[in-house]
Amino acid sequence: MLQVHGLTKYFGGLAALKDVSFEVPENHIYGFIGPNGAGKTTLFSAIAGAIQPSAGRIQSRGKDVTGMRPFSLVRSGVVRTHQVVRPFRTMSVLQNVQVAAHFGRRAITRTSAARDYAMDILKWVGLEPVVHVPASALPLGDQKRLEVARALATDPELLLCDEICGGLTATETRNMLDLLRRIRQRGTTIMYVEHDMKAVMAVCDHIVVLNFGQKLAEGKPEEIQNNQEVVEAYLGKATLGGLSRG
């Protein structure tokens, strides 16, 4: 589905991403973890076209999509959600999703058809009771859900979810993870960034670990949990060494 080769991004002299390569197969949920500043959001921004990579290549279904603008990527089926939700605040929940139905891959022209399609999506994600509420009036959990619903309405092949469970309660997180699994069942491939290890381990088929902009490891969740390098990246080598030396 998605192939990333040698992706590199410099911000001034700082390498936010250094020679990162991986491949996401179709219909999988790929998790991306790493300490703060590891480059996870930069990676997503580069794939979704919000920033231009300094070097490297991104291919979606064999087609080179490196450096494409976000709105063209949407038409190629690559869509992201934002870590900090960005709803169209005073538009209703329905209108928010309707916009995506109009301008996504389906490119629905008639407003009534777009509204119907948006309504189906909202029912599917469980936001039906609040369709006419202004997006800004929703509690955070529903806003996160709306962010996903809006991305879904563009009919993506690859959905990039950036911390969609951040700040949610345990129950809300469980529901969100269920939603992710259901999205995958529809045939959408998912790339998922999250700080909550339990959430990532529970839902992902495969995990890529980033540290200081580089790929540290990748593998199945249980492999990652037992990877010494990964544990050190999170807890720090010096701390462990210092303890053992007394």
Partner: protein
């Protein structure tokens, strides 16, 4: 009153205003009042046009005098050359729309207040250039000689037809995919791009439609005035007037743009006549007052009163950040 009937009434209001203006001349008004209403209709058109870009798409431009002036001069030159007014007005719109691309391509790379400042620069540059070109007549202006009999009502109904066109275009855009895309851009350009909207292209389109209407309004005005000069049609004051009207009436709504245009058109001359030295100061003060006290303009004020009377607390259907947010460039941040 249910939400649906309320919105029906709201969408009928602009047409009711135009209908009143259509029958007004038959009420035996003096030629001077008809002239005043003619000017008002021209202002209503520009107000609606500005609202497409400034209200729907949230791009505050101080540069609409450019299109008004280009339209005025295009129509003036063609009518003076003996061409029928109608194709002259269409050409005025086309010229203005074409020039909107020249203005828009560089300035739409800027956001919020930076875009606004850039449009001031463009507007002033165009005025200075127009002032020094022989084709405009320079500072001494240009007199239009039309070899047709002058009939005031013909001018009046041309302006009314154009205003009706502007209302129609606004209403169609408001309820279309295009309009929803513009409102999404007003909220958050990045989020809009993330659902597949090309913000740059959409802003250029909205700008072009707005410029075409403004250019035609300039042309209709020029034909009536029969004398135009760069300090009038290209002036910064013209740009401010065009921006002020939708703000008075209620930014981002069709009714607000109409209402603002009507009120401004009727009181503007009185203000200039009574306060010749400070009328610009009054507009500045008014602008600040509206943004601080009632950012949604008269439409917002009316809506608030209406809700107080009927104790109706349903979801508001005004889709957009508040105008003070638009003007400060912080909408959707």
């Amino acid at each position: 009153m249910s939400a649906i009937t309320t919105s029906r009434v709201k969408s009928a209001l602009p047409w009711m205003v135009l209908a009143a203006l259509a029958i007004a001349p038959s009420a035996g008004l003096t030629a001077n009042i008809v002239r005043l209403l003619f000017v008002t209709l021209v202002w209503v058109t520009t107000s609606l046009a500005w609202n497409l870009l400034g209200g729907f798409a949230g791009q505050v431009s101080f540069g609409f005098a450019v299109f008004y002036g280009i339209g005025a001069y295009t129509a003036a030159k063609m009518i003076d050359a003996g061409i029928h007014p109608l194709p002259s007005f269409l050409a005025a719109g086309a010229m203005a729309a074409g020039s909107s691309l020249l203005v828009g391509v560089p300035t739409f790379r800027l956001r919020g207040p930076y875009f606004a400042i850039a449009t001031i620069g463009v507007s002033e540059a165009v005025r200075v250039i127009a002032d020094n070109l022989s084709i405009t007549g320079g500072a001494s202006g240009f007199r239009i000689v039309e070899h047709r009999p002058f009939r005031q009502l013909e001018h009046y109904y041309t302006a009314l037809g154009l205003a009706a066109l502007a209302v129609m275009v606004s209403v169609v855009i408001e309820h279309s995919k295009f309009g929803l895309g513009l409102v999404a851009i007003r909220h958050d350009e990045e989020a809009a791009a993330d659902v597949g909207i090309n913000p740059f292209a959409y802003k250029l389109w909205a700008h072009a439609v707005a410029a075409a209407l403004t250019g035609m309004a300039g042309g209709v005005y020029a034909r009536y005035a029969a004398f135009i000069h760069p300090h009038g049609v290209f002036s910064f004051q013209t740009s401010v007037y065009i921006l002020l009207m939708p703000v008075i009436g209620g930014i981002g709504t069709v009714m607000g743009a109409v209402l603002g245009g009507v009120i401004f058109g009727i009181v503007e001359e009185q203000l200039v006549a009574n306060f010749p030295n400070v009328h610009l100061l009054l507009y500045g003060g008014l602008l600040i007052l509206i943004i601080l006290v009632e950012p949604d303009g008269l439409v917002g004020l009316a809506g608030r009163l209406w809700r107080r009377i009927t104790r109706h607390h349903g979801a508001t259907d005004v889709a957009g950040p508040r105008p003070d947010e638009i003007l400060r460039g912080t909408g959707g941040a």
